[in-house]
Amino acid sequence: MRIGAYRLSVERAEAPSPPRVALGALLAVALALLLASVLFWTPESGPWTAYRIAFGYAFANPSGLGATVHRAVYLLLCTLAFLIPLRGGLWNIGLPGQVYAGALAAFAVPFWAGARELGSGTAGGVALLSMPLAAALAGASLGALVGLLRAKLAVNEILVTMMLNSVMFWLVSDFIKEGGAFMSATAEGESFTLPEAFRPPLPLGLPPSAFLGLAAAVVVDFVFSRAAAGYRVRTFGLNPQAARYAGIDPVRVSLWVFVLGGAFSGLAGYHYFAAVPGLYKIPTNYGYYGDLSFYGIICALIARGSAVGAVPMALLFAGLSVGGRFAQGALRLPFGVDYAILGLLMTTFVFSHLVDRYRVVWRRTAPAPTSAPPRPEGAR
C-alpha cells in the first residue's frame, strides 16, 4: 500500500525480539478477554459486571482464592507436562490420559493398604510419599509408551496421545463405576474418599505438590537455558536433522521428554484428586477436570515455552476458569464459559503466533529532497 512517498508492506520477520514476543502474548490474552466479554453479555448485566464477579470471586473471596490457587498448581503441572516435550518439537496432548493414570495410581496406594474398607487406616510417611510417586510413575509410563513409539517408529504422537486419553477415560469409569475396585461404598459413580491419614499435610495451606510445581518450573527453565541436556532437547526441537548430525540421540530425547511430561501430568492427577482439600476422591465428573488440563497447552504456548513465565498465566487462567464458572452460576449463563474462554485463548494465540512472524514495514519510495525547492521568482 502506498501512502504519499512511503510504501507500507507486510514482510516475514525471522526472529521476533523477546519484548515483541511478550507483547504478543499479552495482546493475545487481552484480545481473548475482550472477545469473551460477548459470552458474558446478558440483558441484565454487561461484561464488566460479569468480569467483576468472576475476578472478585477468584482472587478476593477466600474460598474462591483457595480454589484458584489449587487449580493454578494443577494447570502449572499440566503446563510443564506439555512444555517439556514441546521444547523437543513434540506435542503431548495426552494430558488428560496421564492425569487419569496418575489419579488411579495414587488411589491404588490406599486401596492396597486396605483403607477403602477401613474408611480410615494408618498411613506413615512411606504411604504418603508413595502416592505422588505412584502417580508420577504411572503418568511417566504412559508418556514412555508415546515417546518410544515416536522415537523408534515415528508414530504420530498426537494420535497416540489422543487415543490414550480415551483409553484412560474409560478405564477410570471401570474403576469407579458399577462395582469397580475403587467405587465408593456410599455413592455410585465416584471413588472412595481418601481417608484422612492418606491426605498430605498442607503447609501454608498448600499441598507439597504446589511447592514441587513451582520449584520444577524454575529448574525446567534453568535446564533449558543453562544445561547440556536442555540444549540437546532444544536443538532436537528446532532441527532434528541437525541434532542427529551433532550426535544427539533422537530416541533418548523423545523418550525422556515424554517420560518427564507424563510424570508431571501424573502428579497433576495426584494433586487435584488426592491433595486438594474438599475433594480427596475421583468424582463423577472427572472428565471435566481432565479436560481442564488442556489449559496447560495454552499456558505453555502463550508463555512461549518459558516455565516460569507460565506461572502467572496458570494463575490467571485458573482464576478465569474458577471465576468464570462462578459468574456462570450467578448470572445464569449457559454451561461451558470456561471452555469457551479456553477456545478463544487458543484462537488469539494462533493469531499472535502469526503476528510474531510478520512485521509491518514503511519504506520511502521517492528520494528524499536534499534541499529546499527553489522559490519562484518574485516570491517573498
Binding site: L149, V160, M163, S166, L171, A340, V350
Partner: protein, 290 residues
C-alpha cells in the same frame, strides 16, 4: 443382528466422510489435525439449526457450511500465511471444543425431530459416503484435477513450474475436506446419534485422522478401514454380541482406541513400510513458499 449391522455401517460412514475429506486434504499436502474440531462444530451447527427450524436439509446445509468455513480458515493460516499446520489445527480443535460446549449446552438432550429418513433400511449417508469414495478415487486417479492435487502434495515447486496454481488447488482441497468433516458431524448428530452432549464425539475425529494413515492415502482402503472401525465401534458399545459377560462395558469402550494404536504401530514398522510402501505425500505439512 441386522440392526447391529445397520448401526455399524452408519458409524462407519461418520468415520468415512471425515477421513475422506482429510485424505483429499493430505493428498494436496495440507494436514489438519483439528479434524475433530471441524466435526464438532459441523455437528453442533447442524443439530442447532435442524432443531430450531425443524428441517433436516437446513441442518445439513449449516453443518456443511460451517465445516467448509473452518476448512477455509485452516487454509488461510496454512497456505496464505504459511503458518504451522499443527498449531492451526490444534487451535481449531480447542476453539471448537470450547465454543461448541458453550453454544450447545443449553440444547443438551435429544433432537426432538422424527427419525432421519432411511433408504432401504439404511441411512442415506451410507450410500452418499460410498458414492463419494468412488468419486474421490476417480478424480484423484483419472482426471487432470486429481493429477494437480497429487502433484502439489508431492512437490509443489514442480507443480508450480508446470503451471499448476498450488494455492488454488490447496484451498479447494481444504474447503472440500472441511465440508466433508462438517457433513460427518451432521451425519453424527442428525442421524447416527441425534442427541447433543458435551464433547459428544470423544475421539471420533482423531480415529478418522488415524484412518487416513491406515489407508495409505487410498480411498478404497479407507472405505474398508472405515467399515472395520465402524463395526468395531458398534461392537464395543454392544459387547454382548461377541463375548457376553466378559469384561466390563467400560473396558470394551477402550478397544477401538487400543486397536488404533496397535495398527498405527504396525504400519509404522520398517517391515510394513518396506513391504507395502506408504504413499505418504512428500510435501505433507510443509508450507510452500513460491
Amino acid at each position: 443382528m441386522n440392526e447391529l449391522l445397520a448401526r455399524s455401517l452408519e458409524a462407519s460412514t461418520v468415520f468415512l466422510l471425515a477421513a475422506l475429506g482429510e485424505l483429499v486434504n493430505q493428498r494436496s499436502g495440507i494436514l489438519n489435525v483439528g479434524l475433530e474440531g471441524l466435526m464438532l462444530f459441523g455437528g453442533t451447527a447442524a443439530f442447532l439449526v435442524a432443531q430450531s427450524t425443524g428441517s433436516y436439509p437446513a441442518g445439513l446445509a449449516a453443518g456443511i457450511a460451517v465445516g467448509g468455513l473452518l476448512g477455509w480458515i485452516h487454509g488461510l493460516f496454512s497456505i496464505r500465511l504459511r503458518g504451522d499446520q499443527v498449531v492451526s489445527g490444534m487451535g481449531l480443535w480447542i476453539l471448537s471444543f470450547g465454543l461448541t460446549t458453550y453454544l450447545g449446552s443449553p440444547h443438551t438432550g435429544p433432537l426432538g425431530l422424527p427419525r432421519f429418513p432411511a433408504l432401504v433400511g439404511l441411512s442415506p449417508f451410507v450410500y452418499c459416503g460410498t458414492l463419494l469414495v468412488a468419486a474421490v478415487w476417480f478424480v484423484l486417479s483419472r482426471t487432470s484435477l486429481g493429477l494437480a492435487i497429487r502433484s502439489v502434495g508431492e512437490s509443489p515447486a514442480a507443480a508450480a513450474a508446470s503451471g499448476v496454481n498450488v494455492a488454488g488447488i490447496r484451498y479447494l482441497c481444504v474447503v472440500f475436506g472441511g465440508t466433508l468433516a462438517g457433513l460427518a458431524g451432521a451425519a453424527y448428530t442428525l442421524s447416527y446419534n441425534p442427541v447433543w452432549n458435551y464433547n459428544f464425539l470423544m475421539g471420533w475425529g482423531f480415529v478418522s485422522l488415524a484412518l487416513v494413515f491406515f489407508s495409505m492415502w487410498n480411498p478404497w482402503v479407507l472405505l474398508g478401514g472405515s467399515v472395520l472401525f465402524g463395526a468395531m465401534w458398534q461392537l464395543s458399545l454392544s459387547p454382548e454380541y461377541v463375548l457376553p459377560g466378559v469384561l466390563s462395558r467400560y473396558v470394551w469402550r477402550t478397544v477401538p482406541f487400543g486397536v488404533t494404536i496397535a495398527i498405527l504401530t504396525v504400519i509404522s514398522t520398517p517391515w510394513f513400510r518396506t513391504r507395502w510402501g506408504l504413499a505418504k505425500p512428500q510435501a505433507l505439512g510443509v508450507p510452500y513458499t513460491d
